[in-house]
Symmetry: C2
DNA sequence: TCTTTCGGTCAACGCGTGTAGAGTGAAGCT
DNA sequence: AGCTTCACTCTACACGCGTTGACCGAAAGA
C-alpha cells in the first residue's frame, strides 16, 4: 500500500503497473487484485485517503494567507502525508478520476471554505485564484521540480508567496 | 499532426495511441511512424513547437503583470496555439520529457526574462513564484477545468489575478 | 515503354498490461 | 483426526500497444 502510493506518486497512474508495485511490496500481483478489486479502486483509495483541509477551514481572515501557505508545506514536507497528495496531483491532468477527485474533494471544499472566510465581492473567484496559485507553486516545486522553487528555503518561498495571497484576499472591491 | 496535438492535449502522452490518432487523421498508423520515427519524437515536435515567450521578454516592469496575465490567455484562448500548449502541459507531470521541456524551454527562459525585468532582491525566486502562479491558474482553468475558474470571464479573472502578480513583483525588499 | 522511385497500406511480431480462476499450504474449529 | 476456511500464489488469457518489413499503385526519368 505504501508502495502503491509511492509508485502512483512518482510515475502517475498510467505508468504504474500492478506487477511493478506488487514486486516492490514483495507480494503477488494477484493479491493486489484480491485486496483492492481493481487498479482504479486501488488508486482512489491510495490517492484520496489522508486529505486534510482542516487547516484551511479553521483559519480566520487574518491568518488565511499564512494558513494557506502552511497548508501547502504541510502536505508535502511530511513524508507520511506527501505520498498520498503526490499520487493525486501527479495524475490529475491525465486520469479523469484523479481530476474529478481533486476538483470535488479538494479544490471545491477548499474554495468554499476560503470564500466564506474572505467574503466580499467575487469571494468565490478570489478563493479559486488563491487555491490555483498555491496549486501552481506546489506543482512547480514538488512535482515539476523547477530548480529555483525546489531548492528554495521554505521561509524564503513563504515570504515571497504570502504577499500574493494576501493581495488576492484583500482586493475585495470591484474596481 | 493537428490530430496528434489534439489527442496529446486531451488525453496526455500515455493514453494517446498512435492507432487512435492516425484513425482520427484518416491515415495509416505506419505512416505516422514513417513521418516522425517515434511516438516520442512525434510528441516532442507536436508539443514544443509554437512556444512564444516574446510577450514576456519584451515587457517592462510597469506592464509585466499585465503582460503575464495576457500571455496566459494568449496561449489558451486562441484555438490555434492552444493545442500545442495543452499537449505539453497535460503530460508535464507524467512524462519525463514533457517535464524537462516545460522546465527548460518554457519556465527557465520565462523566469530569467521576468527576473531581469523586475530586478531587486530574490528576483529569481520571485520570478519563479510569479510563473508558478500563472501556471497554477492556467492548469486549474484550462486543464483541470475547475468550475469557478473555467466559467469566469477573462476580464474578471485578470482583475483578480493581477494584484497577486503585482504583489510578487513589488515586494522587492527583504522584510 | 520500361524502369525506378516514392507515398502510402497491410499484416504481423513481440511485449507488457489488467484480470480471472484454479490450486496450495497452513491455521482454526469440531 | 478430519474438515473447512482463509491468505496467498501460479498459470494463463485476451487485449492493446509501438514498431517493423514486405508489399502496392502511381508518378517521374530514360
Amino acid at each position: 500500500m505504501a508502495a502503491a502510493r509511492r509508485q502512483f506518486g512518482e510515475l502517475g497512474y498510467e505508468r504504474t503497473s500492478i506487477r511493478g508495485l506488487a514486486s516492490e511490496a514483495g507480494i503477488d500481483p494477484a493479491l493486489v487484485m484480491q485486496l483492492f478489486g481493481n487498479k482504479e479502486q486501488l488508486f482512489s483509495t491510495a490517492a484520496t485517503s489522508g486529505i486534510d483541509l482542516q487547516a484551511l477551514t479553521s483559519a480566520t481572515a487574518d491568518n488565511l494567507a499564512e494558513a494557506a501557505a502552511a497548508h501547502l508545506f504541510a502536505d508535502f514536507e511530511d513524508p507520511e502525508r506527501r505520498t498520498a497528495a503526490e499520487a493525486l496531483l501527479r495524475s490529475c491532468l491525465t486520469h479523469p478520476a484523479a481530476a474529478a477527485a481533486l476538483r470535488e474533494q479538494v479544490m471545491a471544499p477548499a474554495q468554499s471554505a476560503v470564500a466564506a472566510t474572505i467574503g466580499g465581492d467575487d469571494s468565490e473567484l478570489r478563493a479559486a485564484v488563491l487555491n490555483a496559485c498555491t496549486l501552481g507553486v506546489t506543482i512547480a516545486r514538488y512535482l515539476l521540480r523547477d530548480p529555483v522553487l525546489a531548492d528554495a528555503d521554505r521561509q524564503d518561498l513563504e515570504r515571497v508567496l504570502r504577499p500574493a495571497l494576501e493581495a488576492v484576499i484583500a482586493a475585495n472591491s470591484r474596481s
